[in-house]
Amino acid sequence: MLAQALAIARRDIRSIWLSAFGVGCGAGFLALSGVLLVVDLRADQARLDGWFSPLFVIEALLASLFSVRSFAEEERTGSLEILMTMPLGPWRLVAGKILGAGGALVIALATTVVCPLMVALVANPDPGPILTGYTGLVLAGLAFVSVGVVVSAATDSFLVAATGSSAVLLALWFGGVLAGGLSGRLRTVLTYLSPSSHVTGFLRGTLSLEDAVYFLSLALLGVLGTRLVLEARR
């Protein structure tokens, strides 16, 4: 049952982190996190909300890159055909793939813990927003990866999958930013659909059920979408 999904996830995590691609992406992510920290600390305050905020956007890009390997890369190399003939239902396959890309992303996020730790060495930052910030990053990461896995399942091109999922996530993100200049129902819809509207609470140190439900719903939509794409492929 769950063991099959976990076996797929474990293999995918190892595959990402034992490759030059995964290590390069992870190193790039950590380096950017460091740069963002330096920029954020120029305000001379031990607050990290200005660091977490852009980290969500970079996380979306990293999620796109990691989720590409879930289906598109396997399709390109031919290993997907063997995987698809294994006696496991589509839900387990999808769950394994999302957990795999999500797990790899969580490892990348874990490496950035060094940033708040460094701040804690020289100042006394409020731990609340740090904890909620990471909770938000994990929830958002799961949602971003799910969207990436849908796109990855729909193509065998690494480039199309990576740019496609990045485009979808950035469109959702900046749709919310653009909504500020609109009015009426469209503004309400675009604002709600944008992840940018749902990270503010995490940055301020509060956990909102609405925000958690938003990210979990996006993840669930990703699961359903991937299931549909896989069915359509058959």
């Binding site: 190892r14 490759s19 290993s79 063997i82 003939t85 294994m86 006696p87 496991l88 239902g89 058959r234």
Partner: protein
Amino acid sequence: MDGGAEVELVGVTRRFGARTAVDEVSLSAYPGEVLGLLGPNGAGKTTTMRMLVGNLRPHSGLIRVGGVDAAVDPVGVRRQIGYLPETSSAYPEMTVRSFLEYCARLRRLPRTTRGAAVSRAMRDAGLQGHGPMRIGALSRGYRQRVGLAQALVHDPAVLVLDEPTAGLDPRQRVEVRDLVARIGRTRTVLLSSHLLSEVTDLCRRVAVLDNGRLVALEEVAVLTARVGSRLELRVSGSAQRAAEVVAGVAGVDAVEVRGQVVVVTGTARLTTAAVAAAVVSAGIGLEEMRTTGGSLEAAYLRLVKH
């Protein structure tokens, strides 16, 4: 439905857009049988195999494996099948053993028997001693063996092999052929190959597909007999006299003289021994005799138009 069949396809059709890749194909395969699947590129062999293993869903028709309907229980069907795809590719960063253990885990083999199952599959596929090697570092032939081992790891009742010897050197081909022959004694094997000699060696029956349609499902012997036999004799004496003598041999339909060569065509009853005996007993020197027809190749070329 055919009671004793392990694999049954009944009126299976699959389209890709406007193109019908597999058109109303019906066939059965039995335990202890290696059924050859022949046809030119694009004939529908791989599509048929992909439908059988559950990678593609037929638009109409019925697929049953071990009595399980693929439309009702696709996972139950996949559990009984081992599949070696045409473009088999295992994960290059994994070692042979860890990949096979991964496959065994996905095949839900119990933890207690998993190690033994992996060792057996490695032995059967000729991978002893290669367990710790990275798949990406193996030659193409050995990677093909890894593909074969993953198809065998759960000891399936049905094995579907799409071009299993493609890209192998002659020695590896013989080894894989022997392995398939051994497996085929107790299990049902569906084998697609462009190598007709391989199919002749391994299969008692063949299904020939052309343009998505099943154009023959026969025993190899019946197919070749239908084509008839063709012999070429090079004689040292009078070719005309040799032709007259050979014309009286049982099973001969026609005789043609081309210089010192006598071309004989006939039915499946025509034997080289009878022809040779007739020529020699007439006091004519027989320098060379060879069979140029009555082969699976001749039957195939007659059946396949595209």
